[in-house]
Symmetry: C2
Subunit: 515 residues, 2 copies
Amino acid sequence: MGAAEHGEYPPELSKEEEKYLLNTLKDWSIAHGLAVRPAPTFVQQSQDPTGVLASTAPVTLFPSLFPRSCFEEGLAIQKAYNELYSAIARDETWLQSIVEELLDIDDFVAKLWQIHLAVKKEGYVQNLSLGIFRSDYMVHKDPSRPDSTPGLKQVEFNTIASSFGGLSSQVSALHKYLLTVDAYSASMSSPIKADNLRQSKSAKSLAKGLAVAHNAYGTSRTARPLCVLFVVQDPERNVFDQRHLEYALLEENGVRSFRLPFGETLSHTKLDSDRTLVYTPPNSPSTPFEVTTIYFRAGYSPDDYPKEEDWTARLHLEKSRAIKCPSILTHLAGCKKVQQVLATPHSPHLQRFLPEFEVAARVLATFAPIYPLDNSEAGREARKLAADPASASRYVLKPQREGGGNNIYRKAIPPFLEKLPKTHWPAYILMEMIEPPQLKNAILRNGELQRGGVICELGVYGVSLWRDGGGAEQKGEILESFEAGYLLRTKGDQSEEGGVAAGFGAVDSCCLVDG
Amino acid sequence: MGAAEHGEYPPELSKEEEKYLLNTLKDWSIAHGLAVRPAPTFVQQSQDPTGVLASTAPVTLFPSLFPRSCFEEGLAIQKAYNELYSAIARDETWLQSIVEELLDIDDFVAKLWQIHLAVKKEGYVQNLSLGIFRSDYMVHKDPSRPDSTPGLKQVEFNTIASSFGGLSSQVSALHKYLLTVDAYSASMSSPIKADNLRQSKSAKSLAKGLAVAHNAYGTSRTARPLCVLFVVQDPERNVFDQRHLEYALLEENGVRSFRLPFGETLSHTKLDSDRTLVYTPPNSPSTPFEVTTIYFRAGYSPDDYPKEEDWTARLHLEKSRAIKCPSILTHLAGCKKVQQVLATPHSPHLQRFLPEFEVAARVLATFAPIYPLDNSEAGREARKLAADPASASRYVLKPQREGGGNNIYRKAIPPFLEKLPKTHWPAYILMEMIEPPQLKNAILRNGELQRGGVICELGVYGVSLWRDGGGAEQKGEILESFEAGYLLRTKGDQSEEGGVAAGFGAVDSCCLVDG
């Protein structure tokens, strides 16, 4: 799948075609809230102190080509992923074994774990947990076997604050509208056909997920009105993405919600003696609400905790009787380390959580192999692969610690390791490179149009509500689990051959193609 | 109805209440396309050359209080107004008698009339006309009778390019949303209750009107695809207002439409030998469309005709077989002069067009009396009223010519007339002042919040499709006629007592109150 197989994609547009496409896109996007607050580099706060300006969200002009089989597989296995990660979150013993390896090297993980321990000591008072997940993939095609079928490889699995579910529904509707009004080349051979476009149902589905938790919470013990609490960053440029979920939650499920900046948590919420979480809207202090569900769209990054008080706030929320989306343990289940441990070849862990062989095999097929460079059997194998320039060219060497910019790619790995004392090797992991297909698209971002090579990441949303078993082992039960739509996020490729600036992402939708 | 009767309206908000209201409003408006392109004084073109920025449309924070009986009467008589103005548009003889008085003093009217004569000479080839009307009113309460019931008085009747039908639906939905999420004071005595708010159905109804014409046009004679053509100004800041109609036309009626800047008419349209209007989209020159309906959102002002070629374009469109919204005669029926002639006390004209006495009486009740200052019987009566300071205080003196800034108000009239030679008096008309109730509101406009005294104008939309009789007298038949939603437009009052800058309008919705 690529330019060669589908002629020129995206189609070359005449000046008039591009003008029509852009005008149609710019108006539709604002008319339908496919928008963001402008970046400070685009509009300074002093120009618009009230904040009434908005901009078309970064979007692709065309839906990107995506292999149909990969798309369908990604959606089909989401329920298995829901099962996997909710099982991990329920398995405190196992999670502890993972987290313990990180305590010394990752302050953030250590703090989260301490919160779990503190709440555990007092006793958890809510045994329901809501997961709104997003499993992110790239298409991988083995470059050594050009005729092989492309497959999905997981980039990461998000268990907290999975974003763009609101805008994703809008961008797939946008691309469909552009097709309907003939904004795409009308050539018969163009793959952009209604049958090949996929509407993402993410906004409605994620809202439904929140409503499921809200309803499972039960009635108020204090006859207070009930609400869902969106815990958010402030300011938030991506606010419309979140608002679309709020609107769907109210309009389609009749559920009230409020937005609470994470940093103001302790000012506006309190715990009753039975740890019911009470939110008092600052605009309406005489009408406190009982919070059924805390939906974190903040708190996932150390940057969200500038003050010690912010950790107190997280503990305060975690202690409460509200259903958390996610709970601390679910948040921790999203550690890169968990992904790595599951993805190490011959890892026994996947089977622990997904006992059905067929299900586990399908999930396993989406892992890019990740090896430790330690003295284990897998580690010894990895050391050989990394030291040999021939095999190293299919890998990337990453430090265990989070954060980009320190990766060593392909043929640079053997000379790098040669200079590194062997005792330091275990600080790194070796991951098989995902080799995405060569694609092109055009991105409108901050009013600038950029064309060139792009890389697409498919995110599949999943919703799961489960009851913890209460013991140390994974137990409990899943009460609700469904696949909840998709996101295609597209950014300039790293090659710097194309015109799209590397790393600048845009929301996109899928134009499915065979092969 | 006023502040005194409804306590403080709008309710005083605490700082926190106002913050919540504004945040909720700003996000909702962008998420739902209640937006405009920013004014050049707000965002310069050089900052955003691609034009991706948008701003919350000027809106009121609260729905303005509006007398229920006036609102209901305005909607109820819209079908009578449809009948009246379509009858005027079908009565060339009568219109000619009006227009002839304007030919020497109004170039614009003269040019429009010449186009009618030119097309008439060749013969009209389309006998269907579509009217999308908006009748604008203010609430009037006789200041000399404080206990009297408020009534509607017509400000003007629009027969071309009636705007804000797209945004009006959105602003009434906004105010309803703000009520739902408790953004308004929750006091029991507040009139802002769901039962008192009125959702405007204007976007859907106007789109339906265009679809009615489109379908009445019939099939293409040339097997070309059919479309509606929006003839627009370029650039257009109020583009989302129009786009909402386009989207409703496509989504709810399955009708394609295109936007054609009026100045580019001759470049992209041509007439077949049978005067079928063919539009060739510049982005898709190989797929010409047959135009069923021309919807003018431009061409209503002399400013739209900077070049002689623009008049050629208007003639070209008027000659075509497409249904015009409006036709030239319908456009001319919207002259202020027509309103004046109908509104002169004891005028025989209303009866000519609305033979049913009861219908005519209801329409008549919405006219603010307008007198000529000539030697007719009505004129002699008016001269007395104008010369006496006691009676003059209820009137405004306006020159016949269009254009504001030359009006003489109330007690200034007698001394003004005293200095004016009596031969020049007929150049003026005397109109009874509309005395709107004292209202307050807050307007968000270009990011600035302004509070104070406001004046509200209710616009009621009407759609009518009719067939011309083909003769000189009014004949033909009305094929479709319906009331099509409403607009409330609110601006700062002229008193300069309030903080809202006079003349700066905002879209608003009605909160109905009794009395």
